[in-house]
Symmetry: C2
Subunit: 234 residues, 2 copies
């Protein structure tokens, strides 16, 4: 059973949704049979690096409200994060372009560490207020999950895995993904957004049941030229 | 795509059905992607070997008709066989217990020759009037499809593959097979009897289409806490 999760590093609901999904997984009897795959999604592919944008001000500008009201919205997000055990510090978060972080997640995937890498980068962004667009920061984080730092520096500088990141976004467009997080179960069912843990659990159970239920064989015809132990119907 | 065919060696409709199925396969664009598997079915597991039963008389006795009428029924079967290019000689066929022939088909399966072996034994029974219950006859037929004759003699005498033959018949009972031939496509659809070639072709096309059609991903929920390129809905 395969679960694909489109998300962006700097998307606050993605990290919250990841935690809710993980909580569902813990309650799911067949969690060891699930293959989880992160898919890249850039909320803003044109985002700049190295800016000193203030997230409260960004929200305030977007909604045409005061700085205080922008901060209040971020505070509500921080409260939601706390409910799933995450410690957001949106005051000091450093918004950036996430393409390199996504490319790094694909490098980590080659080594079976995609989930750890995504987790590490999201924690760095939301909790530690690190600049996850900075190559040396990413190299350090990669080292922490056990990846080779020299190789990481190389793939970050030579543009490796650009195509994988693009393909993920094209797939998202084809499926009709409007926002992230976006979860696809066995190419069959989709859940959009950071839904409650119970929703994820219900879908996991549903897909599992459908995949493992032997549906009865359907007869195409009722009569035929056949032989039984008694006779051949000629 | 997998097709399983339950049949018995001495079942006249099974050989005819095999030909009609094969004709459908020839017209099927994806025939190279089909895995075909014969499953054992004994119309009469208690049949004796070494009898000199006359098939016309057997039919006559079964239906309480004259010998001539029994022969006429078999002649009609021979006509049907001719229509698919088979040359039946039911006058001289030697009815027997088919368990050993089925066991041999499983030995052939180990060497990737199950289809050739079944074909060779059915031809021997229906066209050449050979005693396919006789071990030395089976050894000779096995040699003709490229199997080791000494090994064949050994597995015939030591009772190898009895369990495989039994399991097939238990499966048939579970599925509700009333007679043979009986075709199961991808554990999903079943065709009973020697249906017309068009029927087999239709089912092959239907199953192929269903297996290869990407069904659209179904959304479980409509709204969610998510981030779009524009904003996060808090």
């Amino acid at each position: 059973m395969k679960v694909q999760i489109w998300s962006d590093i700097v998307c606050p609901f993605c990290y919250i949704g990841k935690r809710r999904y993980e909580a569902a997984l813990q309650q799911f009897d067949h969690k060891d049979d699930i293959e989880m795959e992160f898919k890249s999604f850039q909320l803003d592919p044109n985002a700049e690096k190295g800016t000193d944008k203030d997230l409260h001000q960004s929200l305030a500008t977007k909604y045409g409200v005061s700085y205080e009201e922008g901060k209040a919205m971020n505070d509500r997000m921080t409260e939601q994060a706390k409910e799933v055990g995450l410690d957001y510090h949106l005051d000091h978060a450093i918004p950036t372009n996430t393409e390199d972080a996504h490319r790094l997640s694909y490098y980590a995937k080659q080594h079976g560490k995609m989930n750890q890498m995504m987790e590490r980068i999201m924690h760095a962004y939301f909790t530690e207020s690190l600049d996850v667009g900075d190559h040396e920061t990413l190299v350090k984080l990669a080292g922490e999950v056990g990846l080779d730092q020299e190789d990481t520096r190389q793939i970050l500088s030579d543009g490796a895995f650009k195509q994988e990141v693009q393909v993920d976004q094209q797939q998202a467009a084809q499926i009709g993904v409007q926002g992230v997080p976006f979860f696809v179960f066995n190419q069959k069912y989709a859940v959009s957004g950071a839904q409650p843990t119970e929703t994820f659990l219900e879908v996991l159970e549903k897909v599992w049941k459908e995949e493992n239920e032997q549906s009865p064989i359907q007869m195409i015809n009722n009569a035929g030229e056949q032989c039984t132990d008694d006779n051949c119907d000629i």
